[in-house]
Structures are given as structure tokens and as C-alpha cells.
Amino acid sequence: MHTELSDYLPLFILLFLSTAVAGLVILISVVFGPKRRAKAAKKVAPYESGMNAIGSGQRRFPVRFYLIAVLFILFDIEVIFFYPFAVAFRQLGLFGFFEMMVFIGVLLVGYIWLWKKGALEWESMDKQ
């Protein structure tokens, strides 16, 4: 099977048109929306249910979100590894099957370790 960059041409055209649509929609509201010169300070202030906003909206956030992101990267890469495997699986036969089980086995060991370490516990991290 051979693929050239030109085979992806329709994709690039669609990408270009979609981006154009998105840009156009944003532009429309700037053009057709009412334009008021004097911007009241309250109007462009951050919304906090009618209270005056205290401090910045971009604050520090719990480290568990980072942890989830790191775990995601690890597992997602392994999920992606499954795809070439899955496409060729019927050709690989029994050999491929055992290779796959070894791969999943390694994955499971890591997964069980994470679970035991409490990396998947959302609440226990609160108490620490």
C-alpha cells in the first residue's frame, strides 16, 4: 500500500475550509454586533456571580490533575501501539497472540502498581 502526501489533499482542503468557517463566524459577531465605545468596567470584569472577583482566575490547581495527565500519556501511547498490532493480528496468528499477551501483561503490572500506590484514588489525595 502506498500513500503520498497528495492523497491527503482532501483532508487539507477540509481543514482549510473548516478553519475559514470558524474564523468567519467569529468575524460575523464583531461586524454585526452592536459596538459600544464606552466599556463599563463592570461589564468586562470576570463573572463571579455578582461578587467582585478576588485575585486572578488562573490559580494553582491540585497536582492530581497533573498526575492524571501523566498517566494518560503513558497509557494512551500503549493504546496507540495496539493499532498496528490489531490490523496485522490475523496474519500474525498464534505468535502475535502471545506477543500481545506479554505486552498486555506488562501493561497490567504497571496498572496494578498504580492502583496499589493509590494514584487512581481521587479522594485519598485530598486527605494527604
Binding site: L11, V44, S56, I68
Partner: protein, 336 residues
Amino acid sequence: MQEHKIVAPILEFLLKSVVLILIALTGFAYTTLLERRFIARLQARIGPNRAGPQGLLQPVADGLKLIVKESITPALADKFVYFLAPAIAVVPALIVFAVIPFGSGPLFSLMGDLNIGVLYVLAVLSVGVYGAVLAGWASNNKYASLGGLRASAQMISYELAFGLSLVAVVLMASSASLNDIVKYQQPGNILGWLIFRQPIAAGIFAICAMAELARAPFDLVEAEQELTAGFLTEYGGMKFALFYMSEYVKMIAMSALFATFFLGGWSGPFVNEFPVLSLVYFAVKVLIGLLIIVWVRATLPRFRYDKLMAFGWKALLPLSLANVMLTALLIVLGVY
């Protein structure tokens, strides 16, 4: 002659892309109406029925209203990212349609035979997370940043099981091209559909699709009682409309993907004799998927966040991994 060889396909793709985008946008407009009318019925209300017959002009009225709204940018927002985020949310939702075969034959899909179709779908759909994260961060608002954080953690957590459920599908079809997966499912009877042979994968896919869409019962991203509107809090007018558009276009895309992977895609009786029928079958399957998504929203209450994460990591991930192992075993044993 050389020029014709280059210009003609470009024109063809251009035309197809325009049609695809128009279908997606019209679909978006009428999915909102469908949802409002259907959910109203489920709650014993009537729903919007004043603008045009049966409220059919309601989406037009909504669109016009949003167009004439003032474009407000919060003073403390990161202006560039604030404008960029809605575009990043909507573009992946639109371009994911490129690989979905809407009917039999090359006429009804932009590039349905792309041999890495499933990977493309996964990759494009995960770009959508950036829209939510950047919107939450750029708004410089506490509700928004909390909503953005929640959205990112939720979407990436469910993406794992989402990807693994599709591994089982690719294992069955031995191809990552969406058109091949559809063809694999048509040995003539309905039992060829993968929903009957991969029920676990279908269930996981449906749940994860709902979580990726951040719709009820997984709509913690914009839980009104806690976060006002989550990462959408500071957005209004057409910039809000873009996020809205991305949600509904993605809803259609997810429904179309479910139909393609598990419901036999465009296949159905007499497709070979009348290729146009395949479009109809596909549309009906997508519509049923959309109705079910709305039905779920009207029925189930919202998850609690810690339970949501636990469900994704401790239930769906091992279950989908086990399903991949089971599928592989059954293929080796010659059952599939």
C-alpha cells in the same frame, strides 16, 4: 491535459468539503431543535414550536439572535487565546467527518478509505480537548479555569477506554479503514453488525462517547450548580455559538461513528441495487443514535467527580483491556 488532472480533483474535493460542512452545520442547527423538542416531550412539555411550522425556524432565530449580540472580551482575558479557543473546539469536530463513509461507493465520503481512519478519528477528537482547556485558561475566571481543568481530566481519562474499545473493532475487521470496517459487517444479515459480536466494546464506546462529549450524565464540565457554565462562563455571542456548534457537531460525529463501527454503517438491504438507499440507512442510524443521546440526558442524573474518575480508570479501562484480550483469544481460537 496535465492541468486538468490537477484541477479536476481539487474542484471535486472542494465541492465535497463544502457540502460536508454545510451538512454538518445544518445538522447542528436541527440537532439543537431535535434535542429541545424531544427533551420537552420526555418532560411532558411542548418545547419551542412558535417560530415556523413545528418550530422549524427556531434554529434560524437562535442564530440571528446570537449574531446581533455584542462581542465582549473580558478585560483580564488573554485576548488571542480567548479568540482561538472556540476555533480550536469547532475545527476538529468538523474535520472528523472526512473519514466517515456516508454511503456506499467513493461518491459518499471524502476519504473513507484512509487506511489509518480509526487513528485519524482518535487523533482529531482528542484535539478538541484543547478547546476546553484553552477557553478555561484564557478567560481568567475561576469558574472557567475549574471547568477547563475538569474537562481536560475527564476527556483524557475516558479517551483510554474509548481507544481500547476501538482496538477490538480493528482486531475483528483487520483494518483501520472505516470503509473496510463497514464492509466487514455485511455478510448479508443483521447479526454481522459488530454490536452483536462486540457488545462490550459497543457499550464502552457509547459510554466514553458520552463522556467525551461532556454531556449528561458526564456534564460536570459545566455543572450549573457549581460552576455556572464551566469554561463557557465568559463566552457569549458567536464565540459561544462556536462551542455550542462543536458540541452538537461532535454529537452527530459520535453517533455517525457508532453507526459505522457497530451498526453496520451504511449497509442495509438493497444497497447494491440502489446506492442512494445507503445514505438513507446511515441517516436513520445516526438519527437513532442522536435520540438515544438526548434520551440519556433526560433520564440520568449527573455523576460525582470522584466517581466519574474512578469509573473511567477502575472500571472501563480494565474492562476494555479484558475485552481486547478476549477478542484476541476468540480470533486465535477461530471463533471469529
